[in-house]
């Protein structure tokens, strides 16, 4: 500890797991927005990534509550948030936003879009897989054009509702921080908006990278029209995100309220690497410049692909750094504005780097399983034989 801190402030309360949580939900929201580009806004260039984006969102949404459970002092009591939610608490209300988004939006949309595949797989596979698909059909094998048309219409409505739901999912996380008047690093009405746009940036970058990686692994050519369109939307979203973050920064510097000197010092010392190097230079300015070059100049496919990969990776690192700077940064300075502490993070500890890394890998494992069960590649479906169709 340097300077003076209130005695109870020296130890950080929210660890790297709480950094991970907005990162994961942000990826969910961003992936979903990319999917909705095609479904609602008819940007049909990105259709090849529609199902992949949904599955990516689901994989990350499943993992999202896990860092929270590891963090809670009494995870066995976590059901209380659903049983006796305190209506003035953003955290409590978020439990319902999460549940709504998972059940009513994401799972429903995936089910409706894949229903035809599910019914066919329930007739063409065997063993445990068959049971899995049969359960998912809910006992209905109707994949007539009429029923599929109904699915399409209902799915469109769900996606439409899903967009503000995705905004709520991640905007709420921003509000959890932004509404804490005790903490001037967090307390700003811009927080939910900044969180949301950085979420969109990270989610789009993630789907872009997953698409490129899976195409390489499957040894299929990348649809460059799709990839270029994703990169374009990534670029536009990034501009908005960057503008918002700069607005927050300039406003703070200009107004220079009582917290400013302390926060400014913290940013230049304790957060120098994570904020100035990783978040601003590597995570925002670099991808912005690289993406701008791909938009402004005519570059070859090979060069564009490399720039997209590099920009995507920098973006993900940058957005993770942003979450780190908000969560950890908000706890490094004293609310007396007279001192600082350090964040000591272990590796093999319940809230250490070890579990954090595992929780970052887990969604990809889940995504792999989801891709195997619900292939998102729009390949032709097997034809059920007449014998099994009679089931």
């Amino acid at each position: 500890m340097e300077g003076f801190m209130y005695p109870n402030e020296v130890e950080l309360q929210w660890s790297v797991l709480i950094v991970l949580y907005p990162f994961l939900t942000g990826l969910v929201a961003g992936a979903f927005i990319l999917a909705s580009l095609e479904r609602v806004f008819r940007v049909e260039e990105v259709k090849p990534t529609y199902r992949l984006a949904l599955l990516t969102a689901l994989a990350f949404l499943i993992v999202a509550p896990m860092p929270l459970q590891l963090h809670l002092g009494h995870p066995e009591r976590s059901l209380e948030m659903y049983l006796t939610p305190h209506r003035t608490s953003a955290m409590a209300m978020f439990g319902f936003v999460y549940l709504w988004y998972l059940m009513a939006v994401l799972l429903m949309e995936i089910w409706l879009d894949y229903r035809k595949d599910i019914v066919i797989f329930s007739q063409t596979t065997s063993g445990l897989k068959r049971l899995f698909y049969r359960v998912l059909t809910l006992g209905s094998n109707n994949i007539s054009p009429g029923s599929l048309h109904v699915d399409d219409r209902v799915g469109w409505v769900i996606t439409l509702i899903g967009i503000p739901s995705a905004f709520m999912l991640h905007g709420y996380v921003g509000f959890i921080f932004g509404s804490v008047k005790a903490n001037p690093w967090w307390s700003t009405p811009l927080m939910p908006v900044v969180f949301l746009f950085s979420a969109m940036v990270s989610g789009i970058a993630l789907v872009m990278l997953v698409y490129m990686v899976t195409s390489a692994l499957r040894k299929v050519p990348i649809d460059m029209r799709c990839l270029d369109t994703i990169a374009k939307y990534l670029f536009y979203t990034f501009i908005i995100d960057f503008t918002l973050e700069m607005l927050d920064l300039i406003h703070r510097i200009y107004e220079a309220d009582e917290s400013f000197r302390s926060l400014d010092f913290m940013m230049h010392t304790k957060l120098f690497v994570s904020q100035i190097v990783l978040q601003i230079f590597l995570g925002t300015l670099t991808p912005l410049v690289l993406l701008a070059t791909t938009q402004l100049f005519h570059l070859s496919v090979a060069v564009r692909r490399r720039l997209y990969v590099f920009s995507g990776l920098c973006t993900l690192v940058g957005i993770f750094a942003m979450r780190w700077n908000v969560v950890i940064g908000g706890q490094l300075f004293s609310k007396s504005f007279l001192g600082y502490t350090t964040y000591k993070v272990g590796f093999v500890a319940r809230e250490g780097l070890g579990p954090a890394i595992l929780l970052l890998i887990l969604p990809f494992i889940i995504l792999y399983v989801l891709i195997k069960l619900l292939p998102p590649w729009y390949e032709p479906l097997p034809t059920p034989s007449s014998a099994s169709a009679a089931d």
Partner: protein, 157 residues
């Protein structure tokens, strides 16, 4: 008009949601503590649990009940408003069953100096001394009786 068979799967899904809702309502009635909401959005029994905490400091009135002489001496001196347990520590257990707990005499060297060692942040009029200058390292109770600390004969400041 959409034929029923084409929305049957949606109705089945709606049924799944309904089952989920019923399960949720059941969980609520089974697991929400009965006293929750009695006084506000919290478990009413919590107040009783908190007030049931055992008491460690008896309070000076209790001490004075059994130790009137010391109380009287103290009330006439400058430590009149310094409560017994402030120096003697928490003694509710002793008040509860005097024989079972014998209070340990406080360590003079540490105790007196916490209040009376010189410190620029202490209020100006408050009696504070530098240990070595004041008594050459002798213990405070060599000259001062804690219950009535004023030195009446040959007092030096």
């Amino acid at each position: 008009m959409v034929p029923l068979k084409d929305i049957a799967h949606l109705l089945r899904m709606a049924a799944v949601f309904l089952v989920g809702l019923i399960l949720f309502l059941f969980l609520r009635s089974a697991f929400i503590p009965k006293s929750f909401g009695r006084y506000g959005h919290f478990r009413g029994d919590a107040i009783a649990e908190i007030t049931a905490r055992p008491i460690a400091y008896a309070g000076h009135q209790t001490c004075e009940g059994c130790h009137p002489e010391e109380a009287d001496t103290k009330s006439k001196g400058v430590h009149a408003y310094v409560n017994c347990e402030s120096c003697h520590g928490p003694l509710a257990k002793h008040a509860d069953d005097p024989a079972s707990v014998t209070p340990k005499l406080p360590d003079v060297a540490t105790l007196c100096f916490r209040c009376h060692s010189e410190n620029i942040a202490k209020p100006q009029g408050f009696p504070q001394v530098n240990a070595n200058e004041h008594s050459g390292g002798q213990l405070c109770n060599t000259c001062h009786q804690p219950h009535s600390p004023a030195i009446t004969q040959g007092a030096k400041k």
